[in-house]
């Protein structure tokens, strides 16, 4: 079973009851609806007949980001989706911004649907012949929009949400209305094909730029697949179901969009010879209704009813989701705690709901509908941009430690294309709606001010590692060996090696168990999970009873990132050496995505990786596989220390190519290495730890280094090998030969990587400065 420590759900989880069909329908319902009803006219006005191209191209662009959602949704199927991934991968400032933008984008989308509802209702009242009163300040449609927002704020306050059967009926109704529109439209086009096709000429009256603008405007109609991921915790077999539902819902929706655009242009003959696209553009959000009136019996009323249903369900969903995002931010401490207040009677987050309501109503009243749409589009584009960046980081850092039901091809080209296309569309929207962009940019600026004035401190406080349990057994020694352990099965080996090292250094061993607190869980809740360390603590207690000459201290820490907690504790405990378990890696020389990798890269200390294959109760011999290429002298010293610690013999082993004639030369080199241990100028006097006669040397002739070493080692033996010198290269952390040996050896292997400062460049100095500042801010005491 794979480790999934970073993002495991820890609190209450929802019942997994949604099937693939259910969740696909949720995605289809989220996409086919308000977006296409409200925006098709506006988009046609911006691009001309090429609006159908814009919609299909949007499908292609959407697919890139959908692949990212499919991959992360399959690997991390938890409520929170994009916001959670950004939080995991990009840190506090980006995650705050993601939450802040997510709150706004859903609220603004709500404003768009409220405005659409107002227009549809006004037109419907007009259609059925009701005389409409004059209203002050803003038009009647806007007042209706405000009224429906208030109604849904009330509904959300009471906690009702559109679920189950009601949701499916509404989706069915929406799709049926769109289906009728397409069917009647195609029939009309088939009746006069030549005239219909003439309406597509000119195809690009606003140039290709118009197509890009239309893509930007309608982008919001494609983001419904996000809902599939949001519901991830409730899906059966999410690792396969979520990606399948995402792709299937897009495969259903994109042709429908293309056909709606095709029929809206082809089937409609406006009066006075006006180009159809212009006619639709002037009708704006009523474009679809006006088009239907031309070829469909009772077309306007049917479309208006469909539009009302769509906008109502979309407004409900967006009010719900934007409220929940701001509530979650309140709970995380990045928004004031008032946002997490829950109503006594209704058990709903009423402050977050009220703030969201104010935001929606302000947009409904003050911003024209196309600018509201643009603002929501810009926000979603920027949010998806972050998610595309997050997937690059998550794949890079977590690598194969996550179970993927789906892995996108051509990584990282896909997220890079996603970033480029989303950025391009966002930029184009600026030319269409500077006001919409200004609203979006203004919101981001306010967000940054809130972050730096308020949220940053809270976020850092939240992220700082904490010690939740400590058991000190002895007087504090000058030096400690830190042994971070997670799996009780490997405690014997890791702590055993640490004890051997500590024994001949008069050091103490600090056994550290880190409990990782996932980003969606507050640190306060993480403290309650300290009991999860009990299995590890029990094994340490057993060892402590057996070992009398070395003091074992136990520490349990919690934090967002395991390697950060290890670094902090190593600093605090004055540990010059970290002994950490490692399961090796099947790829060439890589320790990618593991805690061991982060410790190797980040720790300015000696690191010993222990590949545990069972540590014998009595280690008779330590074999150090030494060669000039893999830190011969350093490995020898580690071998001496471990042999002394285990009271075992030490064998210095080297392998030369068969028939190369280097055996004698190498034997002499090994002798030199041994002699150096006893040289007077050896300040460390390593050799004094082991009597000379207990150190033997051996050279084997073989063409297969790994096999030769493996064949030459016995069962109760510990194998020591040095990490390659270029360990700091991310892709070659221990070296290929060492990696092979570690993976193929039958014995427990210790890979030694003595700390050596890297060349100091200006950017490393800067990094060190930043690290220092971060350390200063740490709350660890």
């Amino acid at each position: 079973m794979k480790d999934r420590p970073a993002l495991e759900p820890q609190e209450t989880t929802l019942a997994r009851s949604l099937s693939e069909f259910d969740i696909t329908m949720i995605g289809v319902g989220a996409m086919i609806g308000a977006g296409i009803f409200v925006l098709i006219g506006i988009a046609a006005g911006a691009s001309g007949p090429a609006v159908m191209l814009a919609l299909v191209l949007n499908g292609v662009v959407t697919l890139f980001t959908a692949m990212v959602y499919a991959e992360l949704g399959s690997a991390i199927p938890e409520a929170g989706g994009g916001y959670l991934w950004v939080k995991s991968a990009l840190g506090p400032s980006q995650s705050f911004l993601a939450g802040w933008m997510s709150w706004f984008s859903h609220a603004v989308a709500g404003a768009l649907y409220a405005q659409g509802f107002g227009s549809f209702m006004q037109e419907l009242l007009h259609q059925v012949g009701l005389s409409l009163p004059e209203v002050p300040v803003i038009g009647l449609d806007r007042w209706i929009g405000v009224a429906i927002v208030v109604v849904f704020l009330g509904i959300n306050l009471r906690g009702a949400s559109e679920t189950g059967l009601a949701g499916n009926i509404i989706t069915l109704a929406k799709v049926s209305v769109i289906g009728l529109f397409i069917a009647f439209g195609i029939a009309a086009i088939a009746g006069s094909p030549a005239e219909s096709f003439d309406r597509f000429d000119p195809m690009f009256p606003e140039g290709f730029g118009g197509v890009l603008v239309a893509m930007g405007i309608t982008f919001i109609a494609f983001e419904g697949y996000e809902i599939i991921v949001q519901a991830g915790e409730e899906v059966k077999e999410p690792s396969k179901t979520i990606p399948k539902a995402i792709f299937k819902s897009l495969i259903i929706v994109i042709p429908i969009y293309g056909l709606v655009a095709f029929t809206a242009i082809g089937a409609v003959a406006p009066e006075g010879g006006q180009p159809t696209w212009q006619f639709l553009g002037e009708a704006k959000e009523l474009g679809l209704a006006e088009a239907a009136a031309r070829f469909m019996p009772a077309g306007t009323i049917i479309i208006l009813v469909g539009g009302l249903l769509s906008t109502i369900s979309a407004l409900n969903a967006t009010t719900y989701s934007s409220t929940r995002v701001s509530f979650a931010m309140g709970r995380d401490g990045t928004l004031p705690s008032a946002f997490e207040k829950v109503h006594d009677r209704f058990k709903t987050p009423y402050v977050a709901l009220a703030a969201t309501g104010v935001l929606i109503i302000a947009m409904v009243i003050s911003v024209p509908i196309e600018d509201v749409a643009a603002a929501a589009d810009v926000m979603f584009l920027l949010l998806f941009l972050q998610v595309n960046y997050a997937v690059i980081k998550i794949r890079g850092e977590m690598g194969d430690r996550i179970d993927y039901g789906y892995r996108m091809p051509w990584f990282p080209a896909i997220p890079i294309i996603g970033i480029a296309s989303n950025t391009g569309l966002a930029i184009y929207l600026f030319f269409y709606s500077p006001l919409g962009w200004a609203a979006a940019a203004g919101w981001i600026v306010v967000g940054l001010l809130v972050f730096y004035a308020y949220a940053r401190g809270r976020a850092e406080e939240d992220a700082a590692p904490q010690i939740t349990f400590e058991r000190k057994r002895g007087t504090r020694a000058e030096e400690t060996i830190l042994a971070p352990v997670a799996n009780p099965d490997h405690v014997e080996a890791v702590v055993g090696v640490a004890i051997a090292l500590a024994r001949q250094r008069d050091a103490e061993v600090v056994v550290l168990n880190v409990i990782q607190v996932p980003p969606q869980v507050p640190m306060s809740a993480g403290r309650a999970r300290t009991s999860e360390a009990e299995p590890v603590i029990e094994v340490v207690e057993e060892i402590s009873e057996r070992v009398e000459d070395v003091t074992l201290n136990t520490v349990v820490g919690i934090g967002r990132r395991i390697s950060s907690v290890i670094s902090e504790v190593a600093e605090r405990e004055n540990s010059h050496t970290i002994v950490i378990g490692w399961h090796g890696h099947a790829h060439e020389g890589r320790v990618r995505g593991s805690v061991a990798q982060e410790v190797l890269l980040g720790a300015e200390r000696d690191v010993l990786l222990v590949r545990d294959r069972g540590l014998p109760s009595r280690v008779d011999r330590v074999t150090a596989a030494v060669s000039p290429g893999i830190r011969g002298p350093d490995t020898t010293r580690t071998g001496v220390r471990l042999a002394a610690g285990f009271d075992a013999d030490l064998r210095l082993l080297n392998v030369v190519a068969a028939g190369s004639g280097h055996a004698e030369e190498m034997e002499a080199w090994l002798e030199d290495v041994r002699d150096d241990l006893f040289a007077d100028e050896d300040e460390d006097q390593t050799g004094q730890r082991l009597r000379r006669h207990r150190i033997s040397t051996e050279v084997i002739e073989s063409d297969d280094f790994v096999r030769a070493v493996r064949d030459a080692t016995d069962e109760p033996e510990l194998l020591v090998v040095g990490a390659a010198r270029d360990w700091y290269r991310r892709d070659n952390l221990v070296g290929k030969v060492v990696d092979d040996l570690t993976n193929r050896a039958d014995n427990t292997v210790v890979v030694a990587r003595p700390y050596e400062p890297r060349p100091v460049t200006w950017w490393r100095q800067l990094l060190a400065l930043l690290r220092g500042r971060r350390r200063d801010r740490s709350r660890l005491s």
């Binding site: 195809m203 396969k240 042709p255 039901g405 995505g593």
Partner: protein, 43 residues
Amino acid sequence: MSGAAIGFVATIVAAVTFFVLALLQLRRVTGASEPIDDDADGS
């Protein structure tokens, strides 16, 4: 080639691209997943 024809061809090309890409991804989900090595960290 008229503007309308270019538009239709472009739309069809985009649609085909979309379907091929999307169906390939769907196959990728339903087909055998790539072998994933076990790099569980034993620390």
